[in-house]
Amino acid sequence: MKLHRRHLLSLAACAGLPGWARAASVVDRVLVLVELKGGNDGLNTVVPYADPAYAALRPTLALKPDVVLPLDEKVGLHPALAPLMPLWAQGELAVLQGLGYPSPNLSHFRSIEIWDSASASDEYLDDGWVARAMAAGLRDRAHFTTEGVALGSAGPGALRGARAVAIGNVDAFVAQSRLVRSVDGGGSPALAHVLRVESDVMKAADGLRTPPATPLATEFPAGAFGQAVRATCRIVAGQAGQGGVPVFHLSLGSFDTHQQQAGTHAGLLKQLAEGLVALRAGLVEAGAWDRTLVLTYSEFGRRARENQSRGTDHGTASSHFALGGAVKGGLIGTMPELERLDATQNLVHTSDFRQVYATIARQWWGVPPEKVIRGRFDPLPFLRA
């Protein structure tokens, strides 16, 4: 008898697999990447409020211990992230501290390329790390509607090279898909690109044509990020049992806060928190939260010391969030030491961001991590085993 993966999983369920693994086979899992564009200030997001060096480095920008939302006796969240606290309490929020990479690049463009392609600092790769996971076996396991959906104005990012589409508005997208004809083929690379996008649009539209049986009752925040969250929930809700879309890319920003950072940053974090809470509500309603993993990332954190314009310059390591029904909440890794900065006065990372991707590759998708990220990277314990 040929054992299908589904059978294996149902057998495993009896053996006591965690809820999220029972809930869905690998191919039904949803990864939502949230890019904080422009370089988010990790130190004022996950705040080492008890460290005297923090207040010393940031005479005007340091958040006072009495306003941060403590996660333990050392670190706490920016007050604008208050909507996330219930998730923290439920153990659905993991804080990944000190993520970075060796020889960090301080250019927005190069650094986000490094994060998206999961390359080393001096290595240039064309495809995003998600595309490599697809090629490493994920693609063969499912007939995905489309391998990724990027919502909003940011580029494909980590989805580059996968069969992914960028979508502004879902309804308009489906209606207008009549304008393309799926033809595979070549010609110049530019023409090949157009033909490939046409083919991706055809496939994606086929899968998105069916709206959810009942519209979601969740209310989504106004604004571009809230609407991207809404579209994500709508797509996931509409695709039950169809193979679906495994990866979403959302973006928020700009976090490039060189001047007068405090107000701008608080506003952006508030949007982030409200969007993520709405994402949770929408996906709970769609019955998909247990099989969802949300991950924030950004090209870099910011300089430890604030600048003369009450802002922060381009930095290096930063903390990020993993959330979802499959997440094992808590503080993961260690906060970089504020008294041991590098030659550019920047934080020294304590975990490599590729450890996060390695964890997702192995534990979330079950594909060999070394095909997704070159080199060996130890997993981080932010998924429930």
């Binding site: 104005s153 690109h193 649009v201 600048n307 003369q308 310059d313």
Partner: protein
């Protein structure tokens, strides 16, 4: 029916043809379309005619000479002559700031619309393309500058130096108030250096990654200190007390650099001329610069006082530019798609608001590039969302004409594109190509139509029985229409 296999074979054959001399002796219609399409926007058949039969050198020299002396045809929007707006920070309350934001958005839209009209009507479209090239190269966004007049002042700079000295342009841009605001040059003081401008000068404006060190960035930032913006009249100012007078070591040479000498020293680096030439190459020729030709163009650039026209002349008269394999290998930017469609079909539009909105939806809001790197361009212009929006634009234009007030006695077609009225002299456009608004083209006519509209053969054959305007509409929906 043209198959995909045919297309691939055609393209490979063209690739193999690159080897020999490719510059034509005299320009054919197809050659003129290629030259005008690359140096301007997609040309109409009437625009093509006068250039046919010229030598490439004569045509390129005429293009460059005309573009260098061109001036705008229409006065800039009225707000550009008014006193500059009070900065947001000095406004009394949130209501006043909100009002200012609304006004600035409207002014920026007016400025973009004015520029799009210039692009549509200009007899020297190369001027507009080079101005757009510099806007993208020194990408500065109104979203941070918050002074539409400041964006206009910067625009005039790009226009003035469009084909002139890159060195003078770089020196001027470094002192341009909009740039000083955009990259925080105005808050770069001796005691508190801000590296933003110094970093981007090296990474994006003059050298490219790998040709400088973090130490060079830090030292250059010191040389750029002391500059500020006087908001009352939008003037760049230099405050000696904020300037770091100490010696700086830049690319291994220690001197008391200031802004002028630091920029000159950056341009003296071997990588600088090639950096600009490679960018011109990707804009006007192909995605992959040819080492030999680009090296020659870089030498010409330096030998001619950094005049961009000298480098561009080398590229436009090179074998790779004229090789058949180079046709249709670039992607039209949103502005090129919109303006090119209007110019190619000689469409008259009485309101450019819908065009301004379209280019924004397609990812190219003029005066608001996404970041200092500018628009990525090439294949990044086209994803699932923008491809559909691009096709919907040409479909709407032709459906409006087809379903509009019907054919006029003079063969003209009229319709509406949102608030705008659009008109097309269908008979006048089709007749010189041997086609008629109410007749299906025969094979020879069809190939003339295709050559006039598409840079490479269509991917999808136009269905049998398609006549006149629907035939043109079908061609604009072909994937090849997105290319140039």
């Amino acid at each position: 029916m043209i198959s995909v296999r045919f297309l691939v074979g055609w393209w490979l054959a063209m690739l193999l043809g690159v080897a020999g001399a490719q510059v034509p002796e005299r320009l054919s219609e197809a050659d003129v379309r290629h030259l005008l399409g690359r140096t301007g926007f997609a040309p109409s058949p009437a625009e093509v005619a006068p250039w046919v039969g010229m030598t490439p050198a004569a045509a390129v020299d005429r293009l460059l000479a005309q573009a260098e002396v061109a001036t705008p045809r229409h006065p800039a929007p009225a707000f550009t002559a008014e006193p500059v707006h009070v900065p947001y920070g000095q406004l009394p309350d949130e209501a006043a700031r909100r009002q200012a934001r609304v006004r600035d958005r409207a002014d920026t839209r007016a400025l973009s619309t004015w520029w799009l009209v210039e692009m549509r009507e200009s007899p020297t479209p190369l001027t507009e393309r080079m101005t757009l090239f510099w806007h993208n190269h020194f990408a500065t966004s109104e979203q941070k500058v918050r002074q539409p007049q400041g964006m206009y002042v910067q625009h005039l700079l790009f226009r003035r130096y469009a084909l002139g000295s890159f060195r003078d342009l770089l020196q001027a841009v470094a002192r341009d108030p909009a740039m000083l605001v955009w990259l925080d040059g105005g808050s770069n003081r001796a005691k508190a250096p801000n590296e933003n401008f110094a970093r981007e000068v090296m990474e994006l404006f003059a050298l490219g990654e790998g040709h400088y060190t973090e130490a060079d960035v830090r030292e250059a930032a010191r040389a750029f200190s002391g500059w500020g913006v006087r908001r009352t009249d939008w003037q760049a100012t230099f405050q000696p007390r904020q300037f770091d007078t100490g010696p700086k070591t830049l690319f291994g040479v220690t001197a008391r650099y200031d802004m002028g000498s630091a920029l000159d020293h950056i341009l003296a680096q071997p990588a600088s001329a090639r950096f600009i030439v490679d960018k011109l190459w990707r804009e006007f020729v192909s995605p992959t610069p040819d080492l030999r030709v680009a090296g020659r163009a870089a030498a010409e650039l330096r030998a001619n006082g950094w005049r961009t026209s000298a480098a561009l002349r080398v590229l436009l008269l090179s074998d790779p530019f004229w090789a058949p394999a180079t046709r249709g290998v670039l992607v039209k930017s949103p502005v090129e798609l919109a303006v090119g469609t209007l110019r190619q079909f000689d469409l008259a539009l009485d309101d450019f608001g819908p065009v301004e909105a379209l280019t924004g939806r397609l990812g190219q809001d003029l005066f608001q590039p996404p970041n200092v790197k500018g628009w990525t361009g090439y294949t990044a212009w086209i994803d699932g969302a923008t491809l559909l929006e691009r096709k919907r634009f040409t479909e709407r234009v032709f459906l409006a004409l087809e379903n509009g007030a019907g054919m006029m006695a003079d063969g003209a077609r009229r319709g509406r594109l949102g608030p705008a009225r659009v008109a097309f002299d269908a008979g006048g456009w089709l007749r010189p190509l041997g086609a008629w608004p109410d007749r299906e083209p025969d094979a020879a006519t069809a190939s003339r139509l295709q050559a006039a509209v598409l840079p490479v053969p269509p991917v999808n054959p136009v269905p049998a029985g398609t006549v006149g305007l629907p035939y043109l509409r079908a061609m604009t929906l072909d994937p090849a229409y997105q290319l140039k």
